[in-house]
Amino acid sequence: MGMTMTQKILAAHAGLDHVEAGQLIEARLDLVLGNDVTTPPAIDVFAKTCACGVFDKSRVAIVPDHFTPNKDIKSADNCKKIREFAREKGIENYYEIGDPQMGVEHVILPENGLVAPGDAIIGADSHTCTYGALGAFATGVGSTDLACAMATGQTWFRVPEAIRFDLTGKFRENVTGKDLILWIIGKIGVDGALYESMEFTGPGVADLSMADRLTICNMAIEAGGKNGIFPVDERTLEYIRTFAPDRYAASSYTAFSADADAEYVSTYQIDLADVPLTVSFPHLPENTHTVGTFEPIEIDQVVIGSCTNGRLEDLREAARFFAGRTVKKGVRCIILPGSQRVWNEALAEGLLKIFVDAHCVVSASTCGPCLGGHMGILAKGERCVSTTNRNFVGRMGHPESEVYLAGVPVAVASAILGRIAGPDEL
């Protein structure tokens, strides 16, 4: 029996020639990630492991991005704790706010060259699955796993089964990777990929930008998936040549591809031209609707950013629609570039000026309102269109507020028109 991409990466990291779905293995890790929410409890567990230091100072990343710049005393205490831990243990990839390499964890790790094809990565954050876009195996875990992995550089996995998404064709105009992943979740449900890898293959992949692939893998967890993964192609290599030049030059990465006889629990054939502009209604990502098929829904706020859609490509797309237009009076539009690098490039390209002229507020590179932390919390009864990844009850504020998930073109059109709308209505 052949292996899937994910199974091959896991086998290689477990020192085995072959693994099969359901098998429990112990694997070596290339990178271990924690943030300002999950690292503080992990530090307490780490103390109990009796380890004096982390397994490899260059392979641990700690990113204070959720409640930073610190929103209250408790978050300031948490950030102080992880800052001191990082200093004491000599962790090389600790990013302080304002650092040119700082930003939302899943935006900056690939940008900072910490991810390459064939890597095995865990992070104490459920959206760690984002890095599958680069042909890596990456999945989210809890704080105990983070602590033990920081100590040993290893963890255990149950080798997942896989679902294959065979992509052909090209998107219609203004349809994005976000629409594709929302549409898929709408079809298979929030537990449609429980335990499983979501492997994206087929000729349609070549046309997807790296930003789209990162967005798609980011939301694998919203279908219950263990990881999402793309094959490595020219675009992937171009990406790591840009962002991980040392590893590219040293060829210290491995492009795994699935065997022809790899086993999949199911295979979906998707013509990208069939994917519509999609919005997930409250309060589950699977609650999808096609733009233009529902009664007008008036909104109070739009959020553009997060680890799902806070990359430079997303901001360019937003600026394309905002240029010469303004946010509807009575609606607030908050833009959070995903990293300092994105912020700076958006500044250099004149995108931020377009946003400000369009009456948007441009915020710091932080998670902020995505998880209802700060910088854009919703009041009772308010509605928000957001490019983030979760619309659970109370995710962005009051339990009686509502979050509608969408891609950037729909979010911008909605901000301009004051109701959920597609860009063709502009």
Partner: protein
């Protein structure tokens, strides 16, 4: 390693809120959590469960939040193993990391009845319903997972590796 005990049987999709309701999450002391384990679906569980007893349930056991308190509560209540056709992914990880044995077997989960006496050999993965005489084969744990469970969880295991 052998577990033996009486079976408590529940249905599909037992979620982490049922295993340990959020209102008790202001502590992470195992014995405190154990006092409220399963109380929203079975108020008698806590008073009846004996050390070594076995929990048998339907599919997707442990779905919901990533709280590590759920496997801690089950383990501290005295349960030696949970048998189900499938487990929610994060619960599965957390259970092993907290040293709670779990086995996947659709046949065993269906056939074993509430109150049966069951014994489990973790080395071979054999589940025996002592009451009916039927036996079932689950995939045994590899040695390192057995060691994690024997060491009372991942933290203990790592300490033994030093």
């Amino acid at each position: 390693m052998i577990a033996k005990g009486k079976v408590f049987k529940y249905g599909d999709n037992v979620d982490t809120d049922v295993i340990i309701p959020a209102r008790y999450l202001n502590t992470s002391v195992p014995s405190e959590l154990a006092k409220h384990c399963m109380e929203d679906i079975d108020t008698t569980f806590v008073s009846r469960v004996q050390p070594g007893d076995i929990l048998v349930a339907g599919k997707n056991f442990g779905c919901g939040s990533s709280r590590e308190h759920a496997p801690i509560a089950i383990k501290a209540s005295g349960i030696s193993c949970v048998i189900a056709p499938s487990f929610a992914r994060i619960f599965y990880r957390n259970a092993i990391n907290m040293g709670l044995a779990i086995l996947e077997s659709t046949e065993a989960a269906e056939a074993i009845q509430n109150g049966d006496e069951v014994s489990i050999d973790f080395e071979t993965g054999t589940i025996t319903d002592v009451t009916t005489g039927a036996s079932f084969q689950a995939k045994p744990f590899p040695a390192f997972i057995r060691k994690i469970i024997e060491a009372d969880g991942l933290v203990g295991y790592i300490a033994t590796q030093k």
